[in-house]
């Protein structure tokens, strides 16, 4: 379980990125974090594992107060928090397998990681994860030889290799086409379901968020302005988050999208 209490981040330039953000994500809940660019979505998830140091407030992971940890303990806490990135952030020149195993670095001594001598259990687990995300036959390829969707799957496997208790997902679909975006979102949500993992997903595509997540938090100028189930996100709520705009058109497009997908699923079911 993750709980964030009164989190504030003020950058050195004086910009207030987060203004007293509070919420709790229980076990297994996938939270979609939406909001305009610059609303502080990225800052918020990076404050959770302190890649960005929060100015004040608390982040708790279970009983652990992450914001109070000294460096060594922070490293151990980061092992419990998997992270998935917008541009995949894979080590491009290493193989898919090495990228997945890099999720084990926090558990492995420097010399073992330098010599690539990971424990056999880690390697077996890495193969299982590659199988889960559908990349078994690509294990020995270099990461830069894969397509965008495949790279993001490697990113997911790397995060899972950490055996995390929480997933932080930063715009997982921003550089993917609509179909691949849906596949990736579905995979992330399924995996969170299987493992009872809570996740926070930054996402700018509102329709995609509504389709997949169980709860949506709307952020505007560093403050929470909406927190509720996807169905409650109506035109008034969207206006509160993003400002005035004609939201009905987007609605319709999203519905058409979902219908097309349902038809596709039925067609495939018919074929099988």
């Amino acid at each position: 379980m993750l709980s964030v209490e009164n989190l504030v981040k003020t950058y050195r330039t004086g910009d207030k990125a987060l203004n007293a953000v509070s919420f709790t994500a229980p076990k297994g809940q996938v939270v979609g974090l939406i909001g305009p660019s610059g609303a502080g979505k990225s800052t918020l998830i990076r404050c959770v594992n302190r890649l960005v140091e929060p100015t004040s407030g608390k982040v708790r992971l279970g009983d652990l107060d992450v914001t109070a940890l000294p460096r060594g303990a922070l490293r151990r806490a980061r092992r419990r928090i998997g992270m998935i990135f917008q541009e995949y952030a894979l080590i491009e020149r290493l193989t898919v397998m090495e990228n997945v195993l890099s999720g084990r670095l926090g558990y492995t001594s420097f010399w073992r990681s330098w010599l690539r001598r990971f424990p056999p259990a880690d390697i077996e687990n890495a193969f299982r994860l590659l199988d889960r995300v559908g990349l078994t036959e690509h294990a020995d390829k270099r990461a830069d030889a894969l397509s965008g969707g495949q790279r993001q799957r490697v990113g997911i496997a790397r995060a899972l290799a950490q055996e995390p208790e929480l997933l932080l997902v930063d715009e997982p679909t921003a550089s993917l086409d609509p179909k691949t975006s849906r596949q990736i979102m579905r995979l992330i949500v399924e995996i969170c379901d299987e493992r009872g993992l809570p996740a926070i997903i930054n996402i700018h595509d509102v329709a995609l968020a509504q389709q997949f997540v169980a709860r949506i938090i709307g952020l505007r100028a560093g403050a929470v302005v909406f927190d509720g189930p996807p169905d409650a996100l109506d035109a008034a709520a969207l206006t509160r988050i993003y400002g005035e705009e004609d939201w009905t058109a987007m609605r319709k497009a999203a519905e058409a999208d979902r219908e097309a997908e349902r038809d596709e699923a039925e067609r495939l079911a018919g074929l099988a």
């Binding site: 980061r78 990135f85 894979l90 080590i91």
Partner: protein, 253 residues
């Protein structure tokens, strides 16, 4: 640029007059030039008819010394450059370490090889050991600086992803940074091999051993045919190093 044609003419004439006066101050000793031309002709003659055999023992000894100096100084230089380069990268090192490493680089780069060689020959005596130290010192300035700059322009997202896994600082460097800078580090090290070989010929002239010392002796003895042979060998080796390094670089990509 200058609109008025009178001004343009005045400037052109002024420049011509200055040039004529400046040339007039040169004190050319034409008899000496004639002498020198004859000597130059002998030098070129020697170059055209190189003599590899008469002084072969000296040449091969000088070559071995130079090649040994080149390889050892490049290896030592690269090994020392890596930690200094990492320390001089703003995105990896704390400010105190950063300034110390930048100072080392600045010191190494501000002193020309020949000056360092003269100093080290005075300290350690004639011979290849002074040459080895000179080239190592020069390699550190060159390689650390370029490595640090390469580290500062890496894709930070990859490093961030490694940090997010709970990796230690050393793991961050070896997993998040090293794979990104490795091809360039290999390329620069190979480039440094042929710079060091050429420099070993130059610093030999001030007493730091190697093929440069042999070349200097040959010229002092007016043995231009042997000197020509030595120059041809240097050109050949630099060319071979060039081809080899471009092949290796392509392979590392």
């Amino acid at each position: 640029m200058v609109k008025d044609p009178r001004w343009r003419w005045a400037l052109a004439v002024g420049a011509a007059v200055y040039l004529a006066l400046a040339l007039g101050t040169l004190d050319v000793n034409w008899a000496r030039v004639a002498d020198g031309l004859e000597r130059g002709a002998r030098f070129i003659g020697g170059f055209l008819a190189p003599d590899f055999t008469t002084r072969w023992r000296d040449i091969s000894q000088g070559l071995t010394e130079s090649l040994t100096m080149t390889v050892t100084s490049t290896v030592a230089g690269v090994l020392i450059s890596i930690p200094i380069g990492v320390g001089a990268a703003r995105n990896l090192a704390p400010p105190a370490v950063y300034y110390v490493c930048r100072a080392i680089i600045a010191l190494s780069r501000s002193l020309q090889e020949i000056i360092v060689a003269i100093l080290l020959v005075a300290m350690f005596g004639f011979g290849p050991f002074a040459g080895f130290l000179t080239l190592t010192f020069a390699t550190i300035g060159f390689l650390s600086k370029l490595l640090a700059e390469d580290i500062e322009t890496i894709d930070e997202a990859q490093a961030e992803a490694i940090r997010a896994t709970g990796a230690s600082w050393l793991q961050l460097v070896t997993w998040g940074v090293m794979p990104q800078v490795m091809p360039r580090l290999v390329g620069l090290s190979l480039y440094r091999v042929d710079i060091n070989f050429r420099e070993s010929a130059v610093i030999g002239i001030v007493g730091a051993g190697g093929i440069g010392a042999t070349l200097n002796t040959a010229i002092d003895r007016y043995e231009y045919d042997s000197a020509g042979a030595i120059l041809l060998i240097i050109i050949g080796i630099v060319m071979a190093a060039e081809y080899a390094s471009s092949h290796i670089r392509r392979w590392v990509q």
